[in-house]
Symmetry: C2
Subunit: 359 residues, 2 copies
């Protein structure tokens, strides 16, 4: 087991990464102010891991209130959140009751927002069971639900007390979701660490074959990279925005196809291909680098285009993005593989060049 | 004008108290990161003060997005909050857009929670126009909406950038609401400052006659008392709970009659009368003090009983209270006029004695 600590002063917390961690109550119990947990999961994860985790907690004398949500990004809504609140109130959960998320990004985001707002905030623990959640959404305290008009529009910054990333849970992960998680891992290499990007190129087949040590390294290094960025800029006033590489295009693609049609990681992969092209249009990287990036995305089984959305629609959707500032679109672009910048000066010509790839 | 600064480290903010402050843009403009404001008010306050404040902002080149909510505690709901989000999104409000609350406690609580959660948090400014909001809900950063089963169940701690309390807005306040605000002012004296309690006794008629200097002193001293408590314990882990004097009974009364039937301050007044009686049953204060408290509440035109709710129903509602801890009811009781304590050791006999007053 490896542990990375997100060094956020009084809200610092450990991320434990390893195999067979679900029963490791020594990692969880010290973080519970009351021996009571609302264990939130979904209908897919529940049959796989709920009884194991619930059993371990109950054996340690923790009272467990299980809450099982429907699966999928389309349920990251007020309606689902409201069901969580109903369950917490019905079970008379108090301020010391810990909300624990067992599942992927959707479960984590809803549970985290529920924990942030139930009685104005109760303790929160994440047990991410998808690669995407382990390398991205469980780190950094972003919680949210979607608004019918825009993704992640309603939410809070709220840090967990501990994150338990069990590599074994990845063995049951559908192929498509494993690949979607890989998109964010590749992103971490692209924006911050060329060496890690090269390591992914060399080990992509081992990751896809789910070799535990390859997965664990990819997750650990991702936690380090994302953690370092988050610690410097928790509330995304500056460099945290670099983590949004591929996301301005990606969110628009995800929204354009309707939430839940494309996986978030798939949309981000296509978004990174477009953002790499835009970096090239802006003269920041050369064609060989843009091609090298696309090649890895393709090897990871990820999309590098978004056929079916017109350039006009994509532009419309991007202008709704909450990363807009004074009405101006901001893009995260690559200076080179391993380094990214926030740019508000993208010319209409460069953007038009990239959007030609779309429709 | 007097200014009290709530000294919360990096979230410190000034509360300005005086007359004719609505047009004082020098107090507001420095706090706006973007010259754009979502100005949230309700259908009662809008005809009185919206055009004045909106006009002053627009004259200072601030783009204003007005949002007018229905009036009343029954609208402190997800449905209303959702309308706020719809309006913010429709107007393409960004992360730098400031949410400004113009109105009473309900407008402030909903607007504050909207500001805390829209795009995971945007700047927030309070312009409270009721006495209750000026002396209580606008200080300390508690924001929330009600759940059908429990008041203030969903919310966040979120501090404003500045609070503007204009005494002139109290001239249009309905008599009943002025009195409801007085309940919290009396509470501040009771839990913290006997001298202030005596000052209220001496000046109650001047306050009820809305003499500006009497109102301003009552508001300022309330801000000081509440501010000092909040600064020591922002998240209510300890002494902030003292501010809940009268609220365990009060919330149950408010809930029992149905939100919006009794005003919050009215329920708190009756709750303080019951909590004073309970303090007496517990041998903490004598009958003369309990009677002195009731006398002032009656002079302020406030209820000191809650006819129409049975003792059993009241007890049931109290057990739902979010201030419960490990299933145990906690009460704030008086050591004497001017000092309060948190007590979890109330005997069934003492409680039964007090509840005899109820039904």
């Amino acid at each position: 087991m490896q542990t990375y600590t997100v060094a956020l002063d009084d809200r610092a917390y450990p991320i434990h990464i390893g195999s067979d961690l679900l029963a490791r109550m020594d990692l969880i119990i010290p973080h519970l102010p009351q021996k009571r947990v609302a264990l939130i999961t979904n209908e897919i994860v529940a049959p796989l891991y709920l009884s194991e985790l619930q059993g371990a907690l109950e054996k340690a004398d923790v009272d467990v209130v299980p809450v099982i949500l429907p699966d999928g990004e389309s349920h990251k809504s007020w309606a689902t959140l409201s069901k969580v609140f109903d369950a917490l109130i019905a079970a008379r959960c108090e301020r010391g009751t810990t909300v624990m998320a067992l599942g992927g990004g959707v479960v984590g985001d809803i549970s985290g927002f529920a924990a942030a707002t139930y009685q104005r905030g109760v303790p929160f623990i994440q047990v991410p069971t998808t690669l995407l959640a382990q390398v991205d959404s469980s780190i950094g305290g972003k919680t949210a639900i979607n608004h019918p008009l825009a993704k992640n529009m309603i939410g809070a910054f709220y840090q967990p007390r501990v994150v338990i990333s069990d590599m074994r849970t990845l063995l049951t992960l559908p192929e498509r979701e494993l690949k979607a998680g890989l998109a964010e891992i590749i992103k971490h290499g692209l924006i911050r660490d060329e060496e890690f990007f090269s390591w992914i190129e060399e080990n992509i087949d081992r990751i896809l074959a789910r070799e535990m040590d390859a997965l664990a390294h990819a997750v650990f290094r991702s936690c380090e990279i994302k953690g370092e960025v988050v610690v410097k800029d928790e509330r995304e006033l500056g460099d945290r925005a670099l983590l949004n590489f591929g996301h301005t295009f990606g969110h628009a693609i995800e929204n354009g196809f309707g939430y839940g049609t494309w996986l978030h990681g798939e949309a981000v992969a296509a978004g990174m291909a477009l953002a790499s092209d835009l970096s090239m249009q802006m003269g920041m990287i050369g064609r060989p680098d843009a091609e090298r990036i696309c090649r890895l995305l393709v090897r990871a089984g990820l999309p590098v285009a978004a056929k079916g959305i017109t350039a006009q629609r994509l532009q419309e959707l991007m202008s709704m993005d909450k990363k807009a500032k004074d009405g101006k679109l901001r893009f995260i672009l690559l200076d080179r593989i391993g380094s990214a910048s926030i740019r508000s000066d993208v010319t209409p010509k460069a953007l038009a060049g990239t959007l030609e790839l779309v429709s």
